[in-house]
C-alpha cells in the first residue's frame, strides 16, 4: 500500500540516549516534514525538506536533526533525548503543487524517562 511508513510505532527511551525515528515514503513526493503533536499545542513543525539534499528548520527544531539523502527517506534524530521530547511524532510528505495537502504517517509515540 502506497504511503508513509514510520518506525518504531512506540518507544520508551532513557534520557540522554540517542534515538532515530525512521520515515519512508513511496509516493515520490518532493517535500517531507516532521511534526510533533502535544496536547493543547496541536501539530508543530520540527524540520522539513523541500527536496532531496536540502533541509530546513521548522517551529521547534532544537534538540532534533534530520537528513535527506534521497527522495524516499527522512529520518529524525534526537542526539540526547530529554523528557520534554516525550510526544507523538508524525512524518508527512507533499507534492510540490498549489495545494497544501500533506500525507501523514501513523505516528511514532516516544516516551523519554
Amino acid at each position: 500500500i502506497a504511503g508513509i511508513t514510520q518506525a518504531p510505532t512506540s518507544q520508551i527511551l532513557a534520557a540522554g540516549r540517542r534515538m532515530t525515528l525512521r520515515c519512508t515514503q513511496d509516493m515520490r513526493h518532493n517535500a517531507m516534514y516532521w511534526y510533533r503533536q502535544d496536547l493543547g499545542l496541536g501539530l508543530r513543525l520540527i524540520h522539513y525538506s523541500n527536496t532531496a539534499g536540502t533541509t530546513g528548520k521548522g517551529e521547534v527544531p532544537d534538540g532534533y536533526s534530520v537528513s535527506r539523502a534521497n527522495t524516499d527517506d527522512f529520518p529524525l534524530t534526537l542526539a540526547s533525548a530529554v523528557p520534554s521530547q516525550t510526544s507523538v511524532y508524525f512524518c508527512a510528505s507533499r507534492e510540490h503543487t498549489n495545494t497544501g495537502e500533506l500525507f501523514f504517517g501513523e505516528g511514532s509515540r516516544l516516551t523519554v524517562l
Partner: protein
Amino acid sequence: DQQVKQNSPSLSVQEGRISILNCDYTNSMFDYFLWYKKYPAEGPTFLISISSIKDKNEDGRFTVFLNKSAKHLSLHIVPSQPGDSAVYFCAAISHFSNFGNEKLTFGTGTRLTIIP
C-alpha cells in the same frame, strides 16, 4: 505566537445535527486553508480545503466557509455521524510569502464527539 487558533478544545453534537468547528488566524498572508481529521493512533488525514479566492467549498456532508475580513473559517458537518468523532485540525499556508518553501501552520485541534 499562535497564528492559527481553535478556541474550542472539544465539542459534543447529537447524531444527525450539524457540527460547526471554528478556526481563527492572524496572518493575513495565509491564502489557502485546510481541515484535517485525526482518529486515535492514526495520522491526520486531509478532509477539505479552500482557497482565499473563495468563501465556500462543499464536499458531500462537509462545507468549509471562509470569512477573510474576520480572518475566520469554519467547518460544517451535516448531518453528523458517529464516525465523525475525531480530532479536527485546521491548517493554513501562505504561498506568496514563501513561494517554493510553503509550510503548513496547524491549529491546536478540536475534539468532536458525536452522541448517538
